[in-house]
Symmetry: C2
Subunit: 432 residues, 2 copies
């Protein structure tokens, strides 16, 4: 279905069907803002901070790192975790090659295959499902990850001959205090994170990648989300989560190259050399009991966060970006509660650990009592989950005053391989 890797970044010839850009009449010049990301060398400039959050933004697919990590967080998410079927190692590689070709096209606003939704034979199913035909790239990024079970033996057999390649950092996440995990939102052999400024574009990506995987991998669980948690760029306003508080004030920002290098990317010399330039993703589905939260007083809400609700300033004073002062006192008490979220999550409380958060809000109907099924789909990238997410979550899970209003119901961890070289495929370093 998808064409060969060599063809991935060129516009398809008319004989091969119609590109989305072509259909939109965008193939020529004169489109303000189009391709800003694409025109910039990924390594020459911190392109992730260019934001270009317009619908016509597009990000390069190929590069040293996968996109969708330090990329300025888009507004919408469709995330899917996959189980791989009982296939051969060669078939798994084939799937990754097909996914690579499709992702390279779709992130540039093109249809998934060369024939597209309407350019193929009338008597065959179309290459592309078509719902994004008239839509531009919309900042789409597609990020792939490998779960611990991909490296595991099954029935005494090393599933894909990868057991020896499992990175030490790709741990099985420990049980945290208060975890209320539901099997249907846990784990997975592979994952795909599709982020876009248009939900239809993100949905189109996951749908078509799932279709390509038919018979080789199937969705285990999936999650849609909308923006407003965790800005990842200084160019973005700090968004609010469903507790109504600003979220991500102290998040890693893509502009801080040193911080990103030190805390997000796996360095060369790692014990799993194939992961150099990659990262580790932890996903947690966190249900918020918002109706209960909404009955808490403003004072209680601010005490729990350790910040004020309007501005997001630490309760020790200042404005949003003022560093919290955990020794400040008010009326003889700590100005910032020792069990507040800001204190427990702060690097000074966790041996300097920081993570790049990239979560999304979700609302999924309601329960039998009419309460909204709402919460935060937490996504965090880091160099080593053992010293980063696990350390922070261990502190939070035991003492965070916010736990009264949250419940972790889903959990997964993935090794996110480095970016793809042109002509290669995602995860190639794992299979060589």
């Amino acid at each position: 279905m998808p064409d060969t890797p060599a063809d991935q970044d060129s516009e398809p010839t008319p004989a091969h069907g119609i590109s989305r850009r072509g259909l939109l009449g965008l193939a020529g010049a004169g489109v303000v803002g189009a391709g800003v990301g694409a025109a910039v060398d990924r390594f020459a400039l911190p392109h992730d901070s260019l934001a270009t959050s317009g619908a016509s933004a597009s990000y390069p697919f190929y590069g040293e790192h996968q996109a969708g990590i330090t990329t300025a967080a888009q507004d919408r998410l469709h995330f899917a975790s996959y189980d791989v079927a009982d296939i051969s190692r060669a078939d798994l590689i084939g799937l990754l090659k097909d996914w690579t070709a499709a992702a390279a096209r779709m992130t540039q606003g093109r249809e998934v295959g060369p024939d597209g939704a309407v350019g193929g034979a009338l008597d065959a199913p179309p290459d592309d499902t078509g719902e994004a035909l008239d839509l531009p790239a919309s900042g789409l990024t597609i990020t792939f990850g490998f779960g611990p079970t991909l490296f595991r033996t099954a029935d005494g057999r090393d599933r894909f001959g990868l057991a020896a390649k499992r990175p030490e950092a790709l741990i099985d996440l420990p049980h945290f205090a208060g975890d209320a995990l539901q099997d249907e939102f846990v784990g997975g052999d592979l994952c795909i994170q599709a982020c876009s400024d248009d939900p239809q574009v993100a949905v189109h990506a996951i749908r078509n990648l799932s279709r390509i995987a038919f018979g080789r991998a199937s969705i285990r669980w999936s999650q849609l989300g909308f923006g407003r948690t965790s800005s990842t760029s200084r160019s973005q306003v700090t968004p609010r989560n469903l507790f109504g508080f600003k979220d991500g004030t102290a998040n890693v920002k893509s502009e801080d190259a040193t911080v990103v290098d030190e805390h997000v990317w796996v360095p060369s010399g790692d014990s799993a050399p194939w992961m150099t330039g990659g990262s580790y993703l932890v996903a947690r589905k966190i249900r918020m009991t918002i109706e209960t939260w909404d009955r808490a007083s403003l004072r209680e809400q601010e005490r729990i966060f350790g910040r004020d609700k309007g501005e997001g300033a630490p309760l020790s004073g200042g404005s949003e970006f003022t560093e919290p002062n955990f020794s400040a006192q008010k009326h003889g008490e700590p100005a910032i509660d020792p069990h507040s979220h800001v204190r427990l999550a702060h690097p000074t409380n966790n041996g300097g650990a920081v993570i790049l958060r990239r979560g999304y809000n979700f609302v999924e109907g309601n329960d039998d009592l009419g309460r909204l099924n709402a919460g935060l789909f937490f996504l965090a990238f880091q160099r080593d989950p053992r010293t980063q997410f696990v350390r922070i979550q261990d502190a939070l899970s035991r003492n965070d005053a916010m736990n009264e209003y949250t419940r972790h119901i889903g959990s997964a961890i993935f090794a996110v391989p480095p970016g793809v070289e042109r002509g290669s495929y995602v995860g190639a370093t794992l299979f060589t």
Copy 2:
């Protein structure tokens, strides 16, 4: 919580807290595009067609008709159906008054109550849940409806003294061929449709209106959706549904005043005079089996729609907006299949019946087999469902070739009362 009706459209004084516009620094001049809708008299111009789909678009709340019907369809939906508790008629009226006050504020980009998320007493729960604090009105419309059960007797008692006021047109929808309704997506005493160009703004509206209803009404079922079905204005590009086809080419457009007057609004002289200027809403949750659809050939897909997939032109020829010619032949066969969707849904097949469709796509995770829970949340407004939706759906349910790929799993009908006069409340004509 909400302030008095007289205060609803003025900016709150500083003593009453902070408006969203105020927090954004938008209260002054110089905001390009802000308030375009608000500045236009609803009756002087077809303001619905101004579109102004920017984040800062706002639509008037008060007027002859409720907004959110002929308003150019926004990109995002949060819809909720409510059960009313065992409360008095006076309490029901109180709820509608509170909802009116809150909706009048939120649609103008203001917080739900005068104190807002951060302007009230520290030891009280905030008026507003806060997640939309930094966001503009984002084209928010809030549309209220009354279900048949509101007019019903319960335990031999006329619940709210409304039984005699039930409009004849507010029927209990009949069973249609193939209906696979699930109780959890059926019916409701009241409904609220919140549409916005920002999902967080729509979610904020439903959440806060549900919170106001606490103890009086609770969510029975709810639905989120994203755009791309059924444009309702000539200013909008025809969007695509999850079958990848353009949807809404022949929809009622708000610019066609005569068509809207004849088919959407209840005229004066109706047998239910309180509904004059109102409309009837039919909601259907339609699951699409998209994985099966994606395996159908392009020819089959186009035969089922009766249109081509790329352009949306009828298979009898022409371009998207060409009228279909149902007697045209190709190779000795009808060019448009008699069982195609376009033919069965066409006014000529249904005694001239047309409806104003305003549906949304949805994707809600996946089933146990990894198939996406996806589909169309169909919403249609009309003067009389008996001669409009029921007539069309009867034809479709029995013969539409598309039925092989769809399943109706939710259904509800609501009387949508006329617009609200300043100083009054939604549905006031029903209670006088």
